[in-house]
């Protein structure tokens, strides 16, 4: 494949980035893992002139820190690193499962969590788990910094509130242990398929009843959505077959998916129910 040459700046530090930002740039795009951006460039989806800011060398965005209240994941941590991290699996199994299913081993070794978030695909696998675990994003630019809740970040497919030279520095997730977490997805095949529908669930129990169950759905709307009504229904209930079945009915009504080239609306609605029933049944079995 003949690849068009394009303008790239290797970013040496955040200060370097901020200096460049102050001077002004034409259509800047961040290159982290490159597994989405380089394909867009090859497919001529970016209209020249544009400048690629290669941030992949910023070591300070590559680490994972466990603190008393939060786990902080640098935006350049790869899906492969998350997938294989034993402590992250204990706290956030839904995120581990999601990262495990992204692309292929080769893609997971390059693709970063910050890139997955910044790219803002409604079908992105790492995002629904970040919703259920209440993640926040640390956005930084030359003017200052801000913390944004993950659900306030996305405004549509590929669209976010991020300014062009604002960088996602890290993702912080409350270090709260749940009783169960899972991520289920349906795609054309297991590897290298974009999710047709996905469901992240994390929940706690108290005295045998579900206390706090969070459910997020991917690829059913312009952004990831939380199944709020279904969560409310589950609160305080035991994990019985009847409850699971009814929760499946509620989520089918609650979800408002669209028809696109990967799936029809009707199929997606049914599968929201199927995935939730599967997730809750799995939980019942391990509990």
């Amino acid at each position: 494949m003949r690849v068009r040459r394009f303008s790239v700046i290797r970013i040496r530090s955040l200060e370097h980035l901020f200096d460049l930002a102050e001077k002004g740039m034409t259509n800047p795009y961040f290159l982290a893992g490159g597994t989405d951006l380089l394909i867009k460039i090859k497919d001529d989806l970016l209209i020249p002139p544009f400048t690629v800011l290669d941030i992949s060398g910023l070591q300070e965005l590559r680490s994972i820190h466990f603190e008393q209240d939060y786990v902080r994941i640098g935006s350049l941590v790869t899906h492969g690193e998350i997938e294989k991290h034993p402590e992250l699996r204990l706290l956030f199994p839904s995120l581990t499962d999601a990262c495990h299913g992204v692309g292929s081993p080769q893609i997971r070794n390059r693709a970063t969590i910050g890139g997955n978030i910044g790219n803002a695909s409604p079908a992105a696998d790492s995002i629904p788990p970040l919703y259920v675990y209440g993640a926040e994003l640390h956005l930084v630019n030359s003017k200052g910094e801000r913390w944004v809740k993950i659900e306030d970040f996305f405004t549509g497919p590929g669209k976010t509130i991020r300014n062009p030279v604002e960088i996602i520095k890290e993702i912080r997730i409350p270090a709260e242990k749940r009783d169960y977490g899972t991520y289920l997805r349906l795609g054309q095949r297991k590897a290298l398929a974009i999710s047709k529908i996905s469901l992240a669930l994390a929940g706690k129990k108290k005295n045998g009843s579900m206390e706090d169950v969070k459910i997020a759905l991917g690829a059913v709307g312009p952004t990831v959505i939380m199944a709020v009504e279904t969560s409310l229904y589950l609160r305080g209930k035991e994990l019985s077959s009847e409850v699971i079945k009814e929760a499946g009915n509620i989520i089918e009504k609650e979800a408002e998916p669209i028809t696109d080239l990967r799936s029809s609306k009707e199929y997606r609605k049914k599968m929201c129910s199927t995935l939730l029933v599967k997730a809750l049944t799995n939980w019942k079995q391990v509990a």
């Binding site: 494949m1 040459r5 290669d54 070794n109 590897a191």
Partner: protein
């Protein structure tokens, strides 16, 4: 377009100092500049795995890495697996199991197998399938490839 950058990296144990356009892909560097044509180009978009190489010990698609990301990188390609005239045990196992038909996917397949066995020396059949899930083969039906990787793991 960008100015050329001075790049220092290692390919198959050999240090390289080259001036390159930072937007050039690792695949173009390997095939067109270094003439290491064992690494194949299939889709050019990270779907087929034909261009799989090891970058700092990890399997990556060479078509989705650009020069600007390669400073101080260590790259191993299919040409770097054997020792002199002696081929690598994974290559030997592929031949013995008849895992090669047209052969186009094989360099990438073997690099994925190498990355898998380096990390997990005794994988299950499922783990092998998952390990090569980023590599497409249109001839073999995969079963002989899986057998070859099992054989290579046993003989390590």
């Amino acid at each position: 377009m960008s100015d050329l950058i001075n790049l220092n990296f290692t390919v198959n144990g050999e240090k390289k100092h080259i001036k390159l356009d930072p937007s050039m892909t690792l695949l173009e560097i390997l095939r067109n500049i270094l003439k290491l044509t064992g690494t194949k180009e299939g889709c050019g978009k990270g779907e087929c795995g034909s261009c799989t190489v090891l970058l700092n010990g990890k399997a990556v698609n060479a078509c989705l890495v650009i020069a600007s990301q390669l400073e101080e990188a260590e790259i191993i390609t299919i040409e770097g697996l054997g020792k002199g005239e002696e081929i690598h045990p994974i290559q030997k196992a592929f031949i013995e199991e008849g895992a090669v038909q047209c052969g186009f996917c094989i360099p990438g397949m073997i690099m994925s197998a190498k990355a898998l066995l380096d990390e997990n020396p005794h994988p299950s059949e499922e783990e092998i399938k998952w390990g090569i899930s980023g590599n497409l083969c249109r001839c073999t039906g995969y079963s002989k490839i899986v057998s070859a990787i099992e054989k290579a793991a046993k003989e390590r």
